[in-house]
Amino acid sequence: MKRISLTAVMFLSLWSVMTVSATTNTNTLIYGETKRPDTLDPYTSNEPSSLRLSQLMFNGLVAINERQEIEPDLASSWTVSKNQKIFTFQLRKNVTWHPYKNRREAFSAKDVIYTVKLLQHPKTVSARKDQFANIFKVEQIDDYQVRFTLKNPAINPIAIFNFKVLPYHVLKNRPYLNKKNQFANHPIGTGPYIFKRSNTNRQITLIANDTYYKGKPHIAKIILKPFSDNNIMNQALSFNNLDMIVSVSPRHLSELQADARFTLKAYNTLSYSFFAYNQNNVNLRKKAVRKAISHAINREEMLKAFFNNQGTIISGPFAPGSWAYNLDVLPDNYDPQKSIALLKSLGYKKTTNGFIDSTGKLLAFRLRVPIEKNNEAAKRVILAYKNFLKDIGIRVNIDFMEREKWKRAIFKDHIFDITYAQWSFDDSSDISTLFHSQYNMAWGNNFISYSNPQVDRLIKQSLSSTDHQEKRTINHRLHKIIADEVPYTFLWSLTQYAAYSKRLSNVRIHPYQFFDNVHLWKKN
C-alpha cells in the first residue's frame, strides 16, 4: 500500500512538473471567435465568422473603403453606361490564385463570369444569391475585360460588384455550389492569406500569400480559434493565448478598457436591434398599441446599464451611419404615463392584472426569441423589456426557442406576436425587403406582414430613382413615416468592439469588411 501511494505522489508531481508554457509564435496572429465557422468559402455560409474568414482569402471586383467610397480591387478600372445598366470592368493582370495542385493559375475574366454563373444556378445554396439577381448577363470581352448588363439600373454598384470572385479552374467540374462541395472546406482565393489547414474542431490556419497583388502581408500566419464560452475567450486574451478578439462581449468591456496591454477599437457594422410586432395580431395591428409599447421602455437606461452606453439609440429603419438615416426624427421618449393614456384611449381597461380589451381578455403577447448561450446581452434586453411592459400593465410571455426553430417560426410560419432581432446592412441602405408588402411571404424578410401603400410607393420610387439626392429625400420621408408607424420598436445601433494586444501595430479595422487592410498589419 505504501509503495503505491508513494508512486502516486511521484506521478502527480511529475505531471505538474511537465507543464510547459504555451509558446506563441512571434509572427502569428491568433484571433478568437465565439462561433466556429461552418464553411470557409464566401457563399455557402451566412455566419459572421465564416464571412470574416473569407475576407482574408478572397477579393471582390471592387471594394468599399472606410469612407464608404468605391475602390478598385480585382478590377483596376471600370466604365458605366449612361442608363446605369452596363458596366465594363478592366481586370488586374498581376493577380494569381492561391496554389491549387501546386500550380498558381492567373486570375482572368473567365473566373468572374463563372462566379456569376455559379451563383445564379438554381441549385446553388447561398444567402447571397440576391446580390446576383439583378445581373442580366455577363460577357467576356477579352481575357481581362468583362461587361455586365443589369436588369434594372443600380445607384450603388458596390452592392453588386463587391462579390468575392471564385476560381474557375477549381470549380469548373460542377455547375453549382453547395456545402458538400469540396471547395467549401478547402477554399482557393486571391486574397492576402492562403488556406493552410483546418482541424476537426475548426481551428483554421492561414499563411501569408507572397504574391498578393497589394504586397506581401507582414504577418506570416493567421490562426482562427473558435471558443464555446465567451468568458473563457476573454481569459485567453488576457493570458496571451490570443492576440485578438473580433467582437468583445459588453460585460468584458470595462475590464479590457482598464487593461493597458490591450487596445479596444470600435467598429460599426451598420446594424441595429429592434423588437418587431406581428401585424397579424389583433392588438398589435393598432398603431397606438405599438406606440404605447415604444413609449413604455426606457432605452437610455438599458443602454447604460447593459452596454456601458456603447451605442446610439435610433429612431428609424436605417442604420445610423448611413446617408439614408434622417437625423431630424427623434426616437420615442420614455413616458409610461403616455403609454397608459394611449392604451386607455383605445378602450383598454386597466385592472390589477393589467390591461384588458373590450371582451375582457388580458392584453398579453408572446415574445419568441432564440436561445443564444453566449448572447446574454440579448437576454437582458428581453427581460428588461418584459419588465417595462409589465409596469404599464401589458403581459409578455417569453418563449425561448432553439435558433433553427425560431427561424422557422418567425420567417416561414409567422407564428409570433413580438420578436427581438437584429438587422445588418450593407451600404445600399435598401429596406425594401423589410417593409414592402411584396415580401410578405414565407421566408420573406417582411415577416411582420407589414403593408402600407404609401411605404410601398416610396420604396418603389427610391429603387427606381437614379439621382442620389432624390433618393436621399425619399428615404428620409420613408424614415419619418416608418418611425411614426412603429412596425418595429427601434432600439439602438451598438458599437462593436474588437480588442487586440498592443503587440499588434498598424491595425486599421474596416467598418464592415473587418480584415480589409490586414496585409498592412504588423506584429512585434
Partner: protein, 292 residues
C-alpha cells in the same frame, strides 16, 4: 470464522460520536428537504408575494445584505433570495414526475420477473446496459435537438432512462427472496398474487430500494437541469431555476463576482447532499435489518 474478527475502529467516544453523526445526518436531511418544501408551498400558494422579476438597476451584482436584498442581486439587479425560493418550482414537480415514472414502471417491470420469465430478465439486463451505453446528457441533447428544450421533456427522459435501474434492483431483490424460499412459502400459503407483489414484495421488502432510488432520482434531476442550464438548454429565463442562476452568475465569476453564482451553487450542493444522505440512511437501515 472471520465474521467475529471484524476490527471495530472506534473507541468509546467514537461510538458516541458516530451515533451523534447519524442523528445529525437525519436532522440535516429533514431541515434541508423541509425548507425546500416550505419554499415551494410559500411560493406556490402565494402566502408571501415574491417578485422574482423586479429589476433594481441601482444595485446590480451586489453582495448579500445590501439595499434590502438578503442574498444580494444578480446581473439584472433581481433579488437572489426571491429567485432562490422560486427556483424550487423548476425542480419539485418536474423532478417528482421523473421519479414517479421511473419508480412506477421500474417497480412494475421488476415485479413481473416474479413469474420467472427468463426472457424478461434478459430484456431488463439489456436495457440497463443500453442506458449505460449512452450518456444521459447526450440523450438529452438529442431530444432537445429533435424536439425542443423543455424541462418536462428532460424529466421524461430522466424518468424513462432510470426505469431499467429500478427494475433491475427489484428483480435482484426478488431473486434473493426466491432463494430464501420466501416466495414459494407465500404461494403455498395461498397469498393472493397482488397482495404478494404489492404488500410483501414491493412494500415490505423493496420500499428501501424504492425510497433510495427516488431520492437519487431527484438528485439526478437537479444535476441534469444544472448541466443543461450551462449549455443553454435548461429552464429558460425569466423563470428562475437554480441551474440558470448559477449559469448567469458564473458569467461574472472570473471578474471576481463570487456571490451571485455561489449562493445557488451551494443551495444545489446542500440539496443534493440531503438526497444522497437520505438514500444512504435508508440503505443503511436496510442493511442493519438484514444483518440481524
Amino acid at each position: 470464522m472471520n465474521r467475529i474478527n471484524k476490527p471495530l475502529p472506534f473507541k468509546r467516544k467514537h461510538f458516541i460520536l458516530r451515533r451523534w453523526i447519524d442523528r445529525l445526518i437525519v436532522l440535516y436531511c429533514l431541515v434541508v428537504l423541509g425548507s425546500v418544501l416550505t419554499a415551494f408551498t410559500i411560493t406556490q400558494f402565494n402566502i408571501i408575494e415574491l417578485d422574482y422579476e423586479a429589476m433594481d438597476f441601482q444595485s446590480i451584482l451586489t453582495p448579500p445584505l445590501t439595499n434590502g436584498h438578503i442574498l444580494g442581486t444578480d446581473y439584472l439587479g433581481r433579488d437572489l433570495f426571491n429567485r432562490l425560493l422560486l427556483g424550487t418550482h423548476a425542480y419539485l414537480l418536474p423532478g417528482l414526475m421523473a421519479v414517479s415514472i421511473s419508480i412506477l414502471f421500474g417497480a412494475l417491470l421488476g415485479s413481473l420477473t416474479l413469474f420467472a420469465n427468463k426472457r424478461l430478465r434478459k430484456v431488463i439486463t439489456l436495457s440497463t446496459e443500453l442506458m449505460q451505453t449512452t450518456p444521459r446528457l447526450v440523450i438529452l441533447l438529442l431530444i432537445i435537438a429533435i424536439f425542443e428544450a423543455n424541462i418536462y421533456y428532460v424529466m421524461l427522459v430522466i424518468g424513462i432512462t432510470n426505469i431499467p435501474t429500478v427494475a433491475n434492483l427489484i428483480s435482484h431483490r426478488i431473486d434473493i427472496l426466491r432463494n430464501k424460499r420466501f416466495i414459494e412459502a407465500s404461494i403455498a400459503n395461498a397469498t393472493p398474487i397482488h397482495i404478494l407483489i404489492f404488500k410483501h414484495i414491493l412494500w415490505y421488502n423493496c420500499r428501501t430500494i424504492l425510497i433510495s432510488q427516488a431520492a437519487l432520482g431527484m438528485a439526478e434531476a437537479v444535476l441534469m437541469e444544472t448541466s443543461l442550464s450551462y449549455l443553454g438548454f435548461g429552464v429558460q429565463e425569466p423563470t428562475p431555476s437554480w441551474g440558470n442562476m448559477v449559469q448567469a452568475g458564473s458569467n461574472y465569476l472570473l471578474q471576481g463576482n463570487l456571490w451571485s453564482s455561489s449562493i445557488p451553487a451551494l443551495a444545489i450542493m446542500s440539496v443534493l447532499l440531503a438526497f444522497y444522505l437520505l438514500a444512504e440512511v435508508v440503505v443503511k437501515q436496510l442493511n442493519k435489518r438484514h444483518s440481524l
